[in-house]
């Protein structure tokens, strides 16, 4: 495989980092500050996209920064998988920035400079994780991301956010130090390298029990992926302002967790080792439990954001589920669900935020009849819901379809049932919201007066329309992402 040495990955990571001092120094002038965010976001996206053609040709872009010990360096390597994740994160960052201007100003939040600064830091860490060449670098950015998002989660600085922030860190930082760190060092101890490679880094040093324990340490240790029982930080993190929930807790943070697990399974263990030891089924069982239980809990939640959070927990496990199938179709379905779910779920979160800003309503039971006031928002919500359930014409269908094909390919029919049941549950907890929104009646509604449209401000509505539209476009044109996965995983 051809490798190009280039500084671009580093620049893409650092752009948002460099802009932070500028943001802080222009904290008195919100408009100036916000325009810098867009400049940085645009540069970042351009840098990421400029690498795309090279990657699609099957080449890789690499850059080693600090060789810390043989086989353990701080290094970047852009491959198909990383590229896919970086495109999603960088593009959604810009959309979310527009949204967060509307949201933060609409609610007149305090500490906006702090907010945007840590947001920029978080996105830097996300791109860094996407471009990591080895487990050490991945771990580094994983930890930075955990710490950078803490002030965002605890943004309100009140008692509730303090408790949530504590839980957030306990789960995310605690598991990564207690499980991932020793597992990673043990891998290095055994093999002398942490470099990702499709063949895996182990030759025959591991016995099956050791491999199982190690794999479980990674799967549970990357708690950002929300595998049960280490999931409860995600609903707790919903106290954060909605832009944070939308970008970080539907896209960046949680997907970094999933991405890390995918990387470990495909790059550290390697598909062959996992299927030799038959470990795919173990992971798949864990993921299935999370999928089903997550969906069931989502059904019982009345607060919209919490329902979305549990839905996210269950959807994240789809991705792990797909990869654990260890068949080409399953891998494809799982990884592309990173993209599809990202656009679907961020739309839903944007809608939840828009509803909150426009009406102050957080609970689903208060939302009947609201679709008439906010038709655009609810239409977008419908599309996002379709994406998450996995119905055409949304991108979510493509990933679900491939996942189901994957179970057939891997001859795991029981697990196909899990997918189908879960899709039903998804439909149950999303579609009633839309239905009641459009056709239900709110308490204050008067039949004689025609309902006036009262959407939230444009900064909120435009982003959610964009992501909803992209969600549909992806159904028709998933080709770029499919190719990236094929290049990245060699399938």
């Amino acid at each position: 495989m051809e490798t190009i040495i280039s500084i671009k990955p580093l620049l893409a990571v650092l752009v948002s980092l460099f802009v932070i001092p500028v943001l802080i120094s222009s904290s008195g002038k919100p408009n100036v500050r916000e325009s810098w965010i867009f400049v940085a976001g645009a540069i970042k996206l351009i840098l990421v996209l400029s690498m795309l053609p090279v990657i699609l040709e099957g080449k890789q872009i690499a850059l080693t920064l600090f060789e810390f010990a043989p086989g353990a360096a701080i290094a970047f390597r852009v491959d198909g998988l990383g590229m896919l994740f970086a495109i999603v994160a960088a593009s959604l960052y810009i959309v979310t920035s527009v949204y967060s201007i509307g949201y933060m100003r609409g609610l007149d939040e305090h500490g906006q400079t702090r907010f945007v600064s840590f947001f920029a830091l978080a996105i830097s860490a996300t791109i860094g994780a996407a471009f990591s060449a080895n487990l050490l670098t991945l771990y580094l950015f994983y930890e930075i991301l955990s710490l950078a998002t803490y002030p965002l989660v605890a943004h309100h600085q009140d008692k509730k956010s303090r408790i949530s922030g504590r839980r957030y860190l306990t789960f995310i930082l605690g598991t990564s130090i207690a499980l991932v760190l020793p597992a990673m060092i043990y891998c290095y101890h055994v093999t002398g390298t942490l470099e990702f490679s499709t063949a895996g880094i182990f030759s025959d040093q591991l016995s099956k029990p050791a491999a199982t324990v190690l794999l479980l340490m990674f799967v549970f240790g990357f708690a950002k992926a929300g595998i049960m029982p280490f999931h409860s930080w995600l609903p707790a993190a919903m106290v954060a302002p909605t832009p944070v929930s939308a970008l970080l807790h539907a896209v960046a943070v949680v997907k970094v967790g999933v991405f890390s697990i995918v990387r470990v399974m495909t790059g550290i263990f390697g598909v062959d080792l996992l299927s030799n030891f038959n470990l795919g089924v173990v992971v798949m069982s864990i993921a299935s439990v999370t999928i089903l239980v997550g969906s069931c809990i989502a059904l019982s939640q009345d607060e919209l954001k919490r329902r979305l959070a549990y839905s996210t927990i269950s959807q994240l496990s789809y991705i792990i589920f797909g990869v654990a199938l260890l068949s080409p179709q399953g891998l494809l379905g799982g990884v592309i669900h990173i993209v599809m779910h990202a656009f679907g779920k961020i739309t839903l979160f944007f809608c939840a935020g828009a509803i909150y800003v426009a009406t102050g309503k957080k609970y689903i039971s208060q939302m009947s009849g609201l679709g008439k006031k906010m038709p655009f928002t609810f239409a977008a919500f419908f599309i996002g819901a379709l994406g998450v359930i996995g119905l055409p014409p949304s991108g979510g269908f493509y990933s679900k379809w491939n996942l189901i094909l994957g179970t057939l390919e891997a001859q795991q029919t029981i697990f196909m049932v899990v997918l189908l049941v879960s899709s039903f549950l998804n439909a149950f907890y999303f579609l009633p919201i839309v239905y009641k929104g459009f056709f239900g009646k709110s308490e204050e509604e008067d039949d004689n007066v025609p309902v006036k449209i009262q959407e939230a401000n444009l900064c909120l509505v435009i982003p959610l329309m964009i992501t909803a539209v992209i969600s549909i476009v992806l159904f028709f044109y998933p080709t770029v992402f499919v190719n990236l996965i094929k290049v990245g995983l060699g399938i």
Binding site: I74, Q157, D158, I185, H189
Partner: protein
């Protein structure tokens, strides 16, 4: 000029004398004199390090007397590194100290600087010397000066804390001296290399064993290895901040250096890890030290005291690493000398800034500090992350080597203790962060709604710059730890 090795130690000594004189002539002169002395020392240490990296070990014979008769300074990669560390931290701390010394020592600034310089001289001498008895004398110079310094601090508790420190310090030093006596009895020499040569023939001797154990216990008392740590928290908490900032990072670390020097150079790896069967027990002791230090830190209500218990915990890291008996563990221990000195320094610099503004640093006093002192807190947060071991700060990389060494030695309990202590430190520091971040400032500062309009009241710029510089250096040192390991530590261990 080949006298750099001597200059490292002599410059601060001379400066101490001059600063002492200046007290009678013009007290204001003592600060610039001290600054000059340490600047020269730091520069020389840098030169020596470069020289050692280029051309290997330097043997500097005091006044031209050849060993084993004369006293020799023997500077290899290890102590060249520690020398630079000690002198630069002493220099930087002095830069940050001017204002806080004036406040804290009321009108005795001149004597403060004199004792400060003598303390640094002692530390540098301990690091540079190649003679066992000389080491004892220099250790006592550092101890004596720190007794005096601790007494300069808190008026109510300082003298008593200091006196307890004296008692335990004397026991430690005496044990060491006794051990040296036994070693002399057997070898008839005090020069480290000479002793090592003679020892290699008499590994089985019980006199050597007694000497070894006595010296180790003496050094452990001096470095505050659990359960011999009881003097440390009080002594460091009640000393003046400007002194706590330097004694906390340096004193214990230099003692760890002495231990490693004894293990490697004097007694030798073969003796310690093959003839003796102590390594397992010591690693267990270190494991307990790591955990106990962490747990005791959890129960503290004063920030300064909490940090002193973290030092006890970190001592366990280094002792355990050094006694794992493999190259990785030793690399980790040596790297951690450097890293821990830097991060403790960064923490105490931040605490110094807080003390300057708040006077007391009980945890409840820290409310709303993120808004009030954002730059100080930024430095504090970085240093805390380094203690927790978050990459890319340097604390992560030494922990990496230590855990790797523990795996290699099969000491899984030690690896476990390191991980658990990371978690404990995370809890500790986030407990502090929560207080600083969530709880609004007390009423007397006049803001009920403290979130929106906080007035920034920072420490003086000189303190902030040093604090920021050191905190950033944690990341830089972390990123270049590969280089440090490859150019300094591995060649030394070969």
């Amino acid at each position: 000029m080949d006298n750099y090795p001597a200059l490292i130690v002599i410059a601060p000594l001379l400066a101490a004398l001059l600063a002492g004189l200046a007290v009678w002539i013009k007290e204001r002169l003592s600060y610039p004199i001290a600054l000059m002395g340490l600047a020269v020392s730091t520069f020389s240490a840098f030169k020596v390090l470069m020289q050692v990296i280029d051309s290997g070990t330097i043997q500097y014979k005091m006044a031209g007397w050849t060993p084993p008769m004369g006293i020799e300074y023997r500077i290899d990669l290890l102590n060249a590194m520690v020398l630079l560390l000690v002198s630069s931290i002493a220099f930087l701390n002095l830069l940050a100290s001017y204002k806080s010394v004036e406040i804290e020592t009321n009108d005795r600034a001149g004597s403060f600087y004199t004792i400060y310089l003598l303390f640094v001289t002692g530390l540098l001498g301990v690091t540079a010397t190649g003679d066992l008895f000389n080491l004892y004398v220099l250790i006592e110079i550092t101890s004596l000066t720190s007794y005096a310094m601790v007494a300069l601090g808190d008026r109510d508790r300082g003298p008593l804390a200091s006196l307890n420190y004296v008692f335990i310090g004397v026991i430690g030093a005496s044990f060491y001296l006794l051990g040296v006596g036994y070693l002399y009895l057997k070898t008839g020499s005090l020069n480290m290399l000479d002793v090592a040569n003679i020892l290699s023939g008499i590994h089985g001797s019980s006199t050597v064993l007694v000497a070894f154990i006595l010296m180790m216990i003496g050094i452990w008392i001096k470095m505050a290895l659990f359960p011999m740590h009881v003097w440390l928290p009080n002594a460091y908490t009640y000393s003046p901040v400007a002194f706590a900032r330097i004694v906390a990072p340096l004193m214990t670390k230099v003692m760890v250096y002495v231990m490693i020097r004894l293990l490697i150079t004097v007694f030798g790896f073969d003796y310690v890890f093959e003839t003796l069967n102590l390594a397992d027990a010591v690693v267990w002791l270190a494991t307990i030290a790591v955990l106990a230090g962490g747990v005791m830190a959890l129960s503290q209500k004063n920030l300064k005291k909490m940090l002193t218990y973290i030092i006890v915990c970190e001592i366990g890291y280094m002792v355990g690493g050094a006694w794992l008996g493999n190259q990785l563990g030793m690399t980790g221990a040596i790297l951690h000398i450097l890293n821990d000195a830097l991060m403790t320094f960064a923490l105490f610099l931040a605490v110094g800034n807080m003390v300057y503004k708040l006077k007391t640093v009980d945890l409840i006093d820290l409310k709303g500090l993120f808004g009030k002192m954002p730059w100080t807190m930024a430095g504090f947060v970085l240093a805390a992350f380094s203690i927790i071991g978050v990459p890319p700060t340097c604390g992560f990389f030494s922990k990496w080597y230590l855990i790797l060494g523990a795996f290699e030695a099969g000491a899984y309990h030690f690896a476990g203790a390191l991980i658990i202590s990371s978690l404990i430190c995370a809890v500790l520091f986030f407990k502090v962060f929560e207080i600083c971040f969530f709880e609004p400032m007390p009423e007397e500062h006049g803001h009920v709604d403290s979130h929106s309009h906080v007035i920034i009241e920072e420490a003086p710029v000189s303190m902030l710059i040093v604090s920021g510089f050191v905190s950033l250096s944690l990341i830089v040192v972390g990123l270049y730890s590969g280089t440090i390991v490859n150019t300094i530590i591995l060649p030394f261990l070969k």
